[in-house]
């Protein structure tokens, strides 16, 4: 078995398994914790509307916070959108999802993907530099933050090298790229990358609780 076979075979299989195992473990482990009933008289009965409202509106900063958070939000947006474009727009990736789910959608031209990758990579570097230099972020950051950054950065970087056939043979690059994705999948459930699922739960929770009270969301 060569490296590529290992990457496409056992590595991906086990990474995907750990991925779903960890995600369900963590989500179920949170959601099944106790919830106490709220007997207070609701101001608004339609608390679910608040959940939806907060899930949607918290996607951009309120006017009052814009000035102080603009830079961080923008860079965040750039690399998140970049990742979505790369992950879901690149033809070989769509094939990957097709193999897993059977779903297909049109791919984007490679030139778009290449440009996006470059921008995303740059944004990720900015994010890291900011984390290392901003006093608040430096204080808050732990292993999870840096490792999660690494496992996000690595697939983008190795993906670009693979497409460019740069640095090693294609099959080696492709194998490394796939292995870096496997690493991402394995780490995903255990670190902050889970925010991609938790963001809905967390925002929804606050949205519903606050809407009930008529509090600001």
């Amino acid at each position: 078995m060569d490296l590529l076979q290992f990457a496409r075979g056992p590595a991906l299989t086990w990474a995907a398994t750990v991925f779903v195992f960890g995600i369900t473990w963590r989500l179920v482990g949170i959601l099944l914790l106790q919830r106490s009933p709220d007997f207070s008289e609701a101001r608004n009965a339609t608390s679910w509307l608040g959940a939806i409202k907060l899930i949607v509106t918290r996607s951009w900063p309120r006017r009052e916070f814009r000035q102080r958070t603009l830079f961080a939000q923008s860079v965040g947006y750039i690399f998140h959108i970049g990742l979505v474009i790369i992950v879901f727009g690149f033809a070989p990736h769509i094939l990957f999802f097709k193999a897993l789910t059977g779903l297909v959608w049109p791919n984007l031209p490679s030139a778009v993907i290449n440009l996006t990758s470059a921008i995303t990579l740059a944004a990720l570097i900015v994010v890291l530099v900011r984390r290392l230099s901003h006093p608040v972020l430096r204080l808050l950051s732990n292993f999870d933050d840096y490792f999660s950054w690494l496992v996000t950065f690595a697939p983008v970087a190795t993906g670009m090298l693979t497409v460019a056939h740069f640095g090693a043979r294609y099959e080696t690059l492709l194998a490394i790229h796939i292995l870096s994705v496997a690493l991402l999948l394995v780490w995903f459930p255990f670190g902050k990358l889970m925010h991609s699922a938790l963001v809905f739960i967390s925002r929804g929770t606050t949205g519903a609780l606050f809407e009930r009270k008529g509090a600001s969301i």
Binding site: L137, L198, T206
Partner: protein, 453 residues
């Protein structure tokens, strides 16, 4: 420590712009004689016990983006990273991951998250108490929607169990538990005050009526520092011709048990109001101009009672708004420009955001809004018990400057709010900075301008 000791170590200070206990020469920020290991153990147990799916969701979700810092007046005023809201919960996040989270077993076995130490908790006392008013502004910026303020409330349970409440906050909470009021407004003091206020002002102030439709309550800050509020409340309720009363077994609406993190004391204080209202057969409980009282009774009351409350709960501003809008209260127009400070617990976190504005409209004024207003207002810096803590004064004053700037920028002549704790924080800030603005009470403003029938 005997009661006499407590009173001599923590004497009240009622002649300053801010009412609390005197600035202690020696601080007792550790209560009881527990060994340190046990303190940590108790803290963690209390923290874990109150844990539910909601808090877990929050603690799991933080992405360490640091944006909450930009919403918090204590960080913005000092730019000191330790005042980053979520950092204030660091030991509790650590404890949660180790003790209660879905991967707790892994964290414990591999010791990936260390056990919290008493040194950590002691170091965090300043962050959990002195530098968080639980104003919830950070909650509104967090891209993950984490309600950080509620977590600080939970963390205080742990700190209280560990006996790590700041000197002054513990002292007032203890006094409230013992005497029924944190600032010496015992039932006897309250009744006496009502009596002489009634005489002085020629107004009927019913106390302990056997049956009443409405039970009114007061905050000890009002009773001791702003007694005019008692008169104002009586005037308005009499004006409306309601069958109402104060009750000496349930008049004190502040809840320092809640602010210090003592659930048992919180429960006892809340149950007093609930039982008194039920005993009077009242259909309505009016909460005074006090922010945290609103949260304690309006939103937590029924849950402490264990079932829906058999009466309505309104903040005085909501009560005034209802009666202004239905025309029962008529006021003389106020010929002044004015700005309104939203008390965090009533507006942002309580949901009574428009009520005070409706009342002001009744007075013929449209308030000049501050740049950040309503749910997004900046906290005065004194809530959550912070104003009682002398040690917190320096950062509180720094944070207060944000507020002063906002008020000054409106250019309004008058400054009004509907929380007596905000009011005393403003008084204290005014005194400290020799500021020209005096905080007024919405309630008193209405009472003073009532149109006689």
């Amino acid at each position: 420590m005997s009661t006499a000791d407590i009173d001599s170590i923590h004497p009240l200070e009622l002649d300053q712009p801010r009412f609390s206990v005197k600035n202690p020469a020696v601080r007792y920020d550790k209560q009881g004689e527990l060994p340190d290991v046990q303190r940590v153990e108790l803290a963690m147990r209390a923290f874990v016990k109150d844990f539910g799916a909601v808090a877990a969701t929050y603690l799991e979700s933080c992405i360490h983006c640091g944006m909450c810092a930009d919403a918090c007046h204590f960080y913005v005023a000092t730019e000191d990273p330790k005042y980053t809201p979520i950092w204030k919960l660091e030991p509790f996040k650590q404890a949660y991951k180790r003790e209660a989270g879905p991967f707790a077993a892994i964290y414990r076995v591999l010791n990936l998250k260390k056990k919290v130490t008493v040194e950590q908790l002691e170091a965090w006392q300043e962050l959990i108490y002195d530098s968080c008013t639980m104003c919830g502004r950070c909650t509104l910026v967090c891209p993950m929607g984490i309600d950080i303020a509620s977590l600080v409330g939970l963390a205080r349970h742990g700190m209280n169990q560990a006996g790590l409440v700041p000197h002054e906050l513990w002292a007032v909470a203890e006094r409230a538990q013992r005497e029924g009021s944190p600032l010496g407004a015992t039932p006897k003091v309250f009744k006496d005050r009502c009596e002489w206020l009634a005489d002085d002002n020629q107004v009927d102030i019913p106390v302990d009526k056997v049956q009443a439709d409405v039970v009114a309550t007061m905050s000890s800050i009002e009773i001791m520092k702003y007694p005019d509020s008692i008169v104002a409340t009586a005037k308005i309720l009499n004006h409306l011709g309601l069958n109402w009363t104060f009750r000496s077994d349930g008049y004190e609406a502040t809840n320092f048990g809640m602010l210090s993190g003592n659930s048992a004391w919180q429960q006892e204080a809340s149950m007093k109001l609930i039982h008194a209202t039920i005993a009077a057969g009242a259909k309505l409980l009016i909460l005074p101009e006090c922010g945290h009282a609103y949260g304690a009774i309006r939103w937590q009351g029924a849950n402490i009672y264990g079932k829906p409350l058999p009466f309505r709960v309104l903040h005085i501003s909501e009560f005034l708004a209802e009666n202004t809008q239905n025309g029962a209260i008529k006021t003389k127009p106020l010929d002044k420009t004015l700005t309104f400070h939203d008390p965090c617990q009533i507006s942002r976190r309580g949901g009574a955001i428009e009520a005070p504005r409706e009342v002001l409209n009744g007075l013929g004024v449209v308030p000049i809004e501050m740049k950040d207003t309503r749910g997004l207002n900046w906290c005065c810096g004194g809530g959550g018990g912070v104003v009682t803590i002398h040690r917190a004064d320096p950062i509180r004053y720094k944070a207060f400057q944000i507020k002063m700037r906002q008020v000054d920028d409106t250019g309004a002549e008058l400054l009004v709010s509907s929380c007596s704790n905000c009011r005393q924080t403003f008084d204290d800030g005014q005194d400290h900075f020799h500021w020209d603005k005096t905080m007024l009470s919405l309630l008193e403003l209405v009472a003073d301008n009532l149109e006689e029938k």
